[in-house]
């Protein structure tokens, strides 16, 4: 390897042709060469050398003890009737054993190298990364030979069809991934609809108990899901669509003095006596807007601090979100429970291109 390369050219006035904007100073000070080797204490005194050797040995012995201790701790602290304390103790003791077992090997080896191994610095010639002229000439020759012998340049049709074939062969592999998830118009359709419908009762998250308008006092906040959204199916199995639906249907219910609200024309009847329901899914990137500040009527998203003004139909007043939180129109049914008038009138959650 070393014979096939040129030695790196030193930077002096004779080799300034490829230095670009480098300033070549003919009077530059010359490199003084390697410093004389300095002896360590362990080189000079036998006492120090012996002490260092003892320290290294002691570290390796300590490592053995620590590793053995780790195994002891594994069996001595079984995780029966667990408490957090037991888990922590087991973690600490097994971990300490493993850790000291390794630390002592490492520190011992480095200590050995630094105090006892010969510490003469060695200089080795560096060779240029590029091959020497002969090597490069031979490389070109090989390529030319390969070209001649295969006729790669000459046989245009073969070459071009090969390019085409190579360009196309990975495509099936990419197309196969289309079944990762549904595509087509129903993707957007699903994003537009939630589990809310006319007459769906508003229920407490996560237990699903419906909420009476009379239970909602001024200033209170309810985390709400549709009553129809159940964690378990009727047969008692777990509902696998539960989280998907909840991710769109989660709602925050707040009651304020009716005079606080400033509904725009057409939305006057979406609230019930100062009770308003807004989508809890942030219109920025979808975190739950879970924080409500009573005095200012502001809703805050804890992820990126988008702030929505409940008094003004949840318009964005701060932070990276752009759209107001969608409002769920609500009313009260004959038994006094809060119900939805309809689904949301726009898609909830993060914006998407087709919305």
């Amino acid at each position: 390897m070393s014979n096939s390369k040129d030695v790196v050219k030193p930077f002096d006035s004779e080799h300034d042709y490829e230095g670009g904007l480098a300033v070549i100073d003919k009077d530059a000070i010359k490199n003084p060469g390697m410093e004389p080797h300095r002896e360590r204490m362990t080189d000079k005194s036998e006492k120090h050398e012996k002490a260092a050797a003892r320290q290294v040995t002691a570290l390796f012995v300590f490592s053995m003890i620590a590793s053995a201790f780790s195994i002891y701790a594994y069996f001595a602290f079984p995780l029966s009737n667990i408490t957090m304390g037991q888990v922590r103790l087991s973690t600490l003791l097994i971990g300490a054993g493993i850790s000291f077992g390794m630390l002592a090997i490492g520190i011992g080896a480095v200590h050995w190298a630094k105090t006892l191994m010969v510490d003469n610095e060695v200089s080795e010639a560096r060779h240029q990364t590029r091959g020497s002229e002969e090597v490069r000439a031979r490389a070109v020759e090989i390529i030319n030979l390969a070209n001649q012998e295969s006729g790669f340049s000459r046989r245009k049709l073969i070459r071009r069809t090969l390019y085409g074939a190579i360009a196309l062969f990975p495509l099936p592999g990419i197309v196969l991934f289309a079944d990762l998830g549904p595509l087509g118009s129903n993707v957007e359709e699903k994003l537009r609809h939630t589990a809310w419908a006319k007459g769906t009762r508003l229920a407490k998250d996560p237990y699903g108990t419906p909420i009476k308008a009379s239970d909602v006092t001024i200033g209170s906040v309810f985390h709400v899901i549709p009553e129809t959204l159940r964690e378990r199916n009727d047969d008692g199995t777990l509902n696998s669509e539960y989280l998907n639906e909840k991710a769109k249907a989660a709602v925050l219910l707040v009651r304020v003095e009716p005079s606080v609200l400033n509904p725009s024309p057409g939305r006057e009847k979406w609230a019930y006596d100062g009770i308003v329901a807004y989508s809890k899914i942030c219109t920025h990137v979808g975190c739950p807007v879970a924080l409500y500040e009573q005095h200012t009527h502001h809703l805050l998203c804890p992820c990126h601090q988008s702030t929505f003004d409940l008094a003004n139909e949840c318009a964005v007043i701060f932070g990276p979100a752009s759209r107001p939180l969608p409002q769920l129109p609500i009313a009260v049914d004959s038994e006094g429970y809060l119900v939805a008038q309809s689904d949301f009138n726009e898609p909830v959650g993060p914006s998407f291109w087709e919305r």
């Binding site: 888990v87 200089s123 080795e124 699903k190 752009s322």
Partner: protein, 535 residues
């Protein structure tokens, strides 16, 4: 050693094994080539080693975890030993994470080793990148290896994020929700990409298993390939060294691989593993049992992503309000695209820097002696500006915590960050460049006039002078040995035309090298000494 040779001669076990291996795989040749390879010594060269070793720890601890972790999102009712969550419905993935933590001895330890080493991997890789940047180690012939290393840093982030999302707890689920929201914001294809990634609607039942494939197969395999290329290139180039007496661009000075580097680097692996294990044994990280399984409705305030995702989260937060536009029937979410574009652009600039600097200097020589950061003032200043930009984005991910802990207005913290994002890098640039130039001038002073001793003497004619102690030749060399560049004028090409390219390059060369301090040369040194003798 002589003992071993003696044994070998007698035809003992060692000699037999060595002979067997040499006749089958040629170990003698390999040892001859690599056994005494020279490695330079410097503490900053350990940073890359820390990254490499923490990756090995990641592989080992991660493999351990795969024996218990179940990457499925099927809902189950938890029936494990952790009381507070008994009877709660959760995904299989989350339940198995709880089982690893509470029912497998050492399981929690290894979860924490895995998480801590992931944090350390990205951190040490980042510091290693900074070391390489500020010492100019990316210069020819190492530009491509810089890009490979940059790829490793990105892969480290990818590995970290895919792993963070696996336990399917409340925090990681919210992290995925944010990713989903960002993907949906991509024009035209966003909702389809989201559908493909999540297998339908968010959160679906597929994402954990898919991230698991990425996390334990594809990302680590890519990292391994990149690490192999990274290290193989180091073997081809041989390691850089800092300037010092006897260190030149045509040699490499240091200790031989066998025995010193095997002991030091091998021992260092155990130290890295040992330190990670010690931290993991003592310091809880990601206590997922406190958060509960993922549920799209609750969220805990004040939560943070792992540190290396912070700058992207900060970019999301710092985007100004009302950047969303409706064009016809479509919505363009610039509040999401802008941070994405900023993040990608920043990364591209980082990856491309070596090629840019090489174009400006036009220096085609191989560089193996490292720069001290002060000796490349403009590069160092650019580096600090970049670091500052990253740091502000990173701090931006903690606007809420800054506001609550320091009792500040959240809105003011955020607006201040938005301003700082533009102003601080510029300030950082100016301050760094001036500092570097001053340090260079100080170095010149020291070389020419020696070091200040603090000893004041009175001359016979009454003048007071401070005695300066001249530098040893070896000491002085470190302060003299650097490459000096001068700005260039835009010159006409062969056709007699000054191209725009030439003008731009000339402009950049001025930007880089207009303020410069040249290294002391022999004439100046002689003049300074003669002057002193006359004195």
């Amino acid at each position: 050693m002589s003992n071993a040779t003696a044994k070998a001669k007698k035809g003992g076990f060692l000699a037999g094994t060595a002979n067997y291996l040499d006749e089958r795989v040629g170990v003698a040749g390999i040892l001859k080539e690599f056994g005494r390879k020279v490695f330079p010594d410097h503490w900053s060269f350990m940073l890359g080693e820390v990254a490499l070793y923490s990756f090995l720890v990641l592989l080992l601890s991660g493999t351990f975890l795969t024996f218990w972790f179940q990457p499925a999102m099927t809902p189950v009712i938890y029936d494990g030993v952790y009381g507070p969550l008994k009877g709660a419905s959760m995904s299989v993935a989350y339940a198995s994470t709880l089982d690893i933590s509470f029912e497998v001895r050492g399981g929690l330890l290894f979860r924490q080793i895995h998480h801590w080493s992931a944090l350390l991997f990205v951190a040490s890789a980042g510091l290693h990148m900074l070391r390489v940047f500020f010492t100019g180690a990316f210069r020819k012939p190492r530009e491509i290896n810089w890009v490979v290393g940059f790829g490793l840093f990105v892969l480290g982030m990818a590995g970290g994020f895919t792993g963070y999302s696996l336990p399917d707890d409340l925090l990681s689920g919210n992290g995925l929700r944010i990713i989903d929201g960002m993907i949906k914001g991509v024009p035209w294809i966003g909702s389809y990409i989201s559908s493909l990634l999540f297998g339908g609607e968010f959160p679906g039942e597929s994402i954990v298993a898919r991230l698991y494939s990425l996390h334990i197969m594809i990302v680590p395999a890519l990292i391994l390939v990149f690490v192999a290329i990274h290290l193989f290139t180091v073997v081809i180039h041989k390691h850089t060294h800092y300037s010092g007496p006897g260190r030149r661009d045509d040699n490499v000075v240091g200790y031989p691989l066998m025995p010193v580097y095997v002991a030091k680097a091998g021992g260092f692996f155990f130290i890295v593993f040992g330190v990670i294990a010690l931290v993991a044994a003592n310091v809880t990280i990601n206590p997922v049992w406190n958060y509960g399984g993922y549920d799209p409705s609750p969220v805990s305030a004040g939560t943070q992503p792992d540190w290396y995702i912070g700058w992207l989260d900060g970019a999301l937060r710092l985007a100004p309000t009302h950047l969303e536009f409706v064009i016809g029937h479509n919505t363009l979410s610039m509040n999401i695209l802008l941070p994405l574009v900023v993040g990608i652009l920043f990364s591209v600039l980082v990856a491309a820097y070596p090629f840019f600097e090489a174009w400006v200097t036009g220096d085609k020589r191989e560089h193996h002696v490292l720069d001290r950061p002060r000796n490349a003032p403009t590069r160092t200043a650019i580096g600090v500006a970049g670091m500052t930009f990253y740091a502000v984005l990173w701090a931006g991910a903690a606007t809420d915590l800054l506001a609550t802990n320091f009792k500040l207005s959240l809105n003011q913290v955020l607006s201040t960050m938005q301003i700082m994002l533009i102003v601080l890098p510029i300030l950082g640039y100016i301050i760094t460049k001036r500092t570097c130039l001053s340090l260079q001038r100080k170095d010149r002073e020291i070389v020419l006039h020696g070091r200040e001793t603090g000893r004041i003497i009175r001359m016979p004619h009454g003048e007071y002078i401070e005695v300066h102690e001249p530098l040893e030749e070896f000491e002085a060399w470190k302060l003299i040995d650097f490459k000096d560049y001068a700005p260039t004028l835009a010159r006409p090409n062969a056709k007699g035309k000054i191209t725009i390219r030439a003008r731009i390059r000339s402009g950049f060369s001025k930007f880089y090298f207009e303020d410069r301090v040249a290294p002391v040369n022999a004439l100046e040194l002689k003049a300074a000494h003669d002057h002193k003798e006359i004195h």
